[in-house]
Each structure stands twice: as structure tokens, then as C-alpha cells.
Amino acid sequence: MKGIHAISEMNAGEIERLLSLATEFKSGKATRKNLSGRTVALFFSENSTRTKLSFTLAAQKLGARVLDLNESTSSVAKGESLLDTSKTLEAMGADCIVIRHQESGITRYLQQHLQIPIVNAGDGWSEHPSQCLLDLLTISEYKKFAGLKVVIAGDILHSRVARSDAEALRKLGATVSFTGPKTLMPPKTEKAPWPESLKATDVLVLLRIQKERQDQGLLPSLSEYHKLYGLTAEYLEMLPTDSLILHPGPVNRGVELADAVLENPRCKILNQVENGVFARMALLYAAIEGRNIFEIPA
């Protein structure tokens, strides 16, 4: 299988290889690894500022040209299918397409029809490999994965970040549990007790709560969410002092976490943003020059 689509399709060795590549880029030791002369096309059909900027920067740092296809002004708005748009980008000579889309599994579907690799920048509720890799990179700067206790809190049902992170962390030897309101848990999912489980947590990943969940009848209010399921200043004190707090952003202050959390040294959200660029450099490089790095199995 070409491209970078899903952590669920990778084994621990492949995840570690990507992680060490990202580390190499961050340390500045990978100067010979570049994408000079290559073209990376971006197609984001869901709003995303930071992921898109981060991929753009990553491609530019590697020396690649960046083509940004804006959905509202592109032919997709005129009714062209995503598959036809992707084929057009391929025909224009793009070496890789980075896609963000609301449908789970869409990049895996498109890849069956394309020769050039696709990098999944988030597909529906399913996977978010680049967010996962930057989370791994951030964690790896403080912790070992084996035996690590990770709690992912919030809207697990609709979260591609939760799925990719849990998949990768479990493959690397960590223990991952989920918590949040029952209305936002996928089927067959056991809930970790909240806030009790915070006491033994090494890494807490907070997920963004979409305001529309209230309209869908899944939450009574964002303020109740904060009080009962958010990381309040009080709950923060239950976390071990050497623990890490992550969040894929953008943060809803006063919903997933209290303002005070952002000021706390355990909070690594800005480190995540910084690492995002290096993680995405690794993914773009692996996707385009992948044959020299590793083969992603079918």
C-alpha cells in the first residue's frame, strides 16, 4: 500500500522508524533528506488552520513546491468528484497529495485509484496519522512508551486522534484507556473512572469538544462538560507532577481545560505544535521517498 493512511495499517517497527525520522529532522541531522524539485498538493475539505499550515511549512522546509487547492474555489465546489480532482492533481505532476476530509477511510479509497502517494491529514472519525506522530514525538521527549499509562479524555466517538493515538501507543507498549461522557464513547468501549484515574496517569490527552455536540443532544452544555469531564484546576492537582498534558488543538478554554492548565509546565501543547512540523516532514518524506525508508505493508 502506498501513502500514509492509517496507524492501524502499520506495525511497531514502522511507527518507530517514522518517529526516528521525525527526530532526525528536528535535530537538524537530516539535511540530505529533502524533497527538492518535488510538488506537494494540499486538499483540505474540512476547516483546519494549523494542520494545513504545518504541512505547508513541512513541505517548504524540505524544499518542495506546495500547491494549495481550496475547496470553496476549486472544481469540487462545481461538482467534480474528489477522485477526479485527485487524478487531475496527479496528472499535473504532483508527487503527493495531502488530504483532509470528513469521510472515514476516504484516502484509502482514493489511493486504490492513484499512483502517487496520499498522506491522510485526517479522515472523518477514523485516523489522523500526522497528529499521532507529533504526539508520539512529544511524548518520546519525556517518556518511554513501554508501560506508559495514557488516558484519552473527551469525545472518543468522533475522534480520529483518539483512534490513531491509541493504536500507536498500544503497539509501542503503552496502556491506553478512554474516558468521557457515555454519549461520546464508541460502542464496546470501557470507560476509565474520571477523575480518579488521573492519579496514575503518565500522559493525559484531552480532545477538542465540538460545540455542535450540544445541538445533537449529546451534551447538556459546555459548562457542565467542563465541570464534570474537563481538566479543571482542581483535577490538575490529581495528576502526577511529572505527567504530560496534550491536546490536538485548537483548545476551547474553559471547556476541555481550565486556563490555569495552559500555564502549567505539564502542559505540552505548544511543544506539540512545534513538533507537528517535524512529524509532517517525516511523513511527507516517507510517503514520497518511501522506498528508501521502509515498505508499508499492504
Binding site: 472519525w125 477514523s126 485516523e127 460502542p187
Partner: protein
């Protein structure tokens, strides 16, 4: 033509016994000498059943002939051993008035290979707003009614439809589905949890099963539950029978054969509604089928074009094409000819209220089944226009070798 089928095990009136079967002028007859036969066929080692009856099939005409036609669909049915099929009303236009239905009945005469019993819609255009002309349609001989995949949302209208249909002798076929809980693509379980796919919960079926059974009981309607998929629905059916509600049910080969842990999340050939559920559901369905609580196996043959099914998971339509190998799937699971007889011939004939035996004077609808032969399902040999089958490349045991419809051979391997 006089056919003599020699040496097979003939299933009729509840039992199978090895004997010769004679067919003459479209009927089963008491017997004639071998020399009097126009054709003698050695069927020793084979099982001979009354032709299979499919209570649930989509022939797609009028409106969707790129998916299937009456001709290709009934040729596939004949290959599968089916001599009678009920065709569902999700056509374009919907045959909700006598003029359209009469046209369709004439079209059937010229195009069908097996007997087709059209199912009338319960409401005009299957829109769930106004009752269809059920009384007039009944005068054309239509005996079954259903809004198929559009279960009537308005509960008062559903009760009214059941009552009105009952007045005109219909059996109502119920595709039970609470749409508000069915906003997904696959069964809400391990697969949707792990892959992040919107799921269709079992309750989306069982809640509507309970509702429709209770309404049928209240107005005294005969209700037949289509393609049951969830163990809770099975339990509710049992309860309804205990309450004296006139209920029957069917299950599809794919809900008996597959469980969600065995399927590929993003392979659209498994995308079907109701979805393939869990091991526990499959077990409950198999047990209910064996016990006779579920009286029939019906295919829900739902052909689509390769272009439609070649879309992404969200865009591809629901449905599995399977009518031509249904009996093979059942035999592969159960290896029990008595069960095939009971659930593909006898059970469905009782549900539609017809006698269906291989005794003198009955119509010569006959299927000859070889229970021992193994084969790999081959797309190249597929007769239906709908190539959307998750069975391709699967190894199955047992197949139909010969089908008679009214004494004429409509399929011979």
C-alpha cells in the same frame, strides 16, 4: 415433455425419500415407465426439492435496469433454484396504482423466467404520507405489501396501513428500521469502534420490530419480518408469537454466513442494510432458523452496478447480490438437506399460503441440488447483472444443478 428424474432423494410433505419423480405437462404425475419418458435424468446422490421461494428480492425494473432486469434477475434466480420470487417495490416509478401495476404484470409475462409475485407499496411513492391503492391492487392478485427500505416513520400511519392492508388480504412485509438510529454504514460494534466508522445499532432494527409487531397484533394483521439481523429482534419475534400475533420472519444467507469480525471495513461488497452483525447475532439467527422460529431464508438479492459499488464506503449503496448461490451458502453452513427443504421451500410456501409439494397434481416446480460438490464462487460465471457479492473467491459446498419451472427446464448446469 415427460421427464423422469431417477434415483434422487425427493423432499415432500415433510420428508425426504429416495424415489423416482415424474413430470408431465408441467405437473408432477404419479409415474410412467422409463421408455415413456422423453428424457431420463440420473439424479442419484442428489436432493430434489420443491422449487425454492425467495420472499425478498430486488429485480430493479422499472427504473434501474443498469443494476438488474427482470430477465437477468430471474435467470439468476433460476440458477439459484428459485421458481418463485417476491419482487420488492423500490422501483422508479413505484407501482402504487393499478395502471402501472397492470403494465408491469404484462411486462413480466414476456420477460420473466420464473414466477414473480410483485409486492405492492404500502404508501404512494413509498413516501410514508398516504396509503397506496391497496384495495384496487389486491384485485389484480397482489397479496403482499411493503414500503421496503422506507419503514413508515409515522406510527399512526403504520398502524393504519397494516389495518387497511389486512382488509384486502395482504401479508405485510416489514423492513423494520428506526431511521434515527441507523445513520451509519456498518453494524455499530467492534469494527466501527476501531475504524471510526458511523455505525448502525441493533436497536435501530429491534425497536422497529417491536413497534411493527405490536401494531400488527393490535389490528390483527399478518406481518412478515424481513431480513432479521439482530438477536434482540429474534427474542421479540418469539414473544410476539407467544402473544398470538400472526408473525413470521426471514433471514438472509449473508446474516447467517458472516459476522462483523470477519469482514473488511472498507470493502463495499459487505455494505448491506441491515448490516452484518456480531457472532452472537449470527448464532441466535442460526438457532432460530433451526428451531423454526424463523421460517424462511430469503436472499434480499440487491444488485448494483460496479460503478456504484466502486465508490467510497459512504457513497456506495447498500446491498448484496446473492440469489444464484443462496442454497450453496446455506448448505455450506448447515450441511442439512432437511433444513434447505424446510426453509427455502416449505417454510416460505407456508408464509405465502400456498401448497408446495412434490406429489401428483402439483405444479412441476422442482430443483435438483448436488450437496457434495465444492466450488469457488466465480465472478466470471455470475448471471446477475449485480456483481456486488462478498462471496467471490469463497469456497462453497453444494450447488443447484437443475431447475424446473412449471415442468420446463429454466436452469441446467
Amino acid at each position: 415433455m415427460k421427464y423422469l428424474l431417477k434415483g434422487g432423494r425427493v423432499w415432500s410433505e415433510g420428508v425426504g425419500e429416495v424415489r423416482d419423480l415424474c413430470l408431465e405437462d408441467g405437473k408432477v404425475v404419479a409415474g410412467f415407465t422409463e421408455s415413456a419418458a422423453d428424457r431420463v435424468i440420473d439424479v442419484s446422490g442428489k436432493e430434489i426439492f420443491p422449487g425454492f421461494i425467495d420472499l425478498h428480492c430486488h429485480l430493479r425494473e422499472p427504473g434501474f435496469s443498469s443494476k438488474e432486469t427482470v430477465k437477468t434477475g430471474t435467470l439468476a434466480a433460476a440458477k439459484g433454484g428459485f421458481t418463485t420470487v417476491l419482487s420488492m417495490p423500490n422501483t422508479q416509478p413505484v407501482l402504487d396504482n393499478t395502471w402501472e401495476m397492470e403494465n408491469y404484470l404484462r411486462y413480466l409475462e414476456d420477460n420473466t423466467v420464473v414466477r414473480v409475485l410483485p409486492v405492492a407499496p404500502l404508501t404512494k411513492g413509498r413516501a410514508g404520507k398516504e396509503l397506496a391503492d391497496l384495495g384496487s391492487l389486491a384485485k389484480l392478485g397482489i397479496k403482499f405489501a411493503s414500503d421496503d427500505g422506507n419503514d413508515i416513520t409515522n406510527v399512526a400511519l403504520m398502524r393504519s396501513a397494516l389495518a387497511y392492508a389486512t382488509d384486502h388480504g395482504y401479508t405485510v412485509l416489514s423492513h423494520a428500521e428506526e431511521l434515527a438510529l441507523a445513520d451509519g454504514y456498518l453494524h455499530a460494534g467492534y469494527l466501527t469502534r476501531d475504524q471510526g466508522i458511523p455505525g448502525i445499532s441493533s436497536s435501530s432494527e429491534s425497536i422497529a420490530v417491536a413497534r411493527n409487531l405490536l401494531l400488527a397484533g393490535e389490528v390483527g394483521a399478518k406481518i412478515h419480518l424481513c431480513h432479521l439481523s439482530a438477536k434482540e429482534s429474534v427474542a421479540l419475534l418469539k414473544l410476539a408469537k407467544e402473544l398470538g400475533i400472526q408473525a413470521s420472519a426471514e433471514v438472509t444467507p449473508h446474516h447467517l454466513y458472516f459476522a462483523d469480525t470477519e469482514i473488511q471495513a472498507f470493502d463495499t461488497s459487505y455494505k448491506v442494510n441491515p448490516p452484518i452483525r456480531e457472532e452472537e447475532d449470527r448464532l441466535a439467527l442460526r438457532e432460530a432458523l433451526k428451531a423454526g422460529l424463523i421460517g424462511a431464508i430469503a436472499t434480499d438479492h440487491a444488485p448494483h452496478t460496479e460503478k456504484e459499488k466502486g465508490q467510497s464506503l459512504a457513497a456506495a449503496p447498500f446491498g448484496i447480490s446473492s440469489i444464484e448461490i443462496a442454497a450453496s451458502v446455506v448448505n455450506t453452513i448447515f450441511a442439512d438437506p432437511a433444513l434447505i427443504y424446510q426453509r427455502l421451500s416449505k417454510g416460505p410456501s407456508q408464509i405465502i399460503g400456498e401448497s408446495h409439494e412434490l406429489k401428483p397434481g402439483e405444479l412441476a416446480d422442482v430443483v435438483v441440488f448436488d450437496p457434495e460438490v465444492s466450488f469457488t464462487v466465480n465472478k466470471e460465471k455470475w448471471v446477475s447483472k449485480g456483481k456486488n457479492s462478498p462471496y467471490f473467491t469463497k469456497q462453497l459446498k453444494g450447488r443447484v444443478v437443475l431447475t424446473f419451472r412449471g415442468g420446463q427446464i429454466v436452469y441446467e448446469q
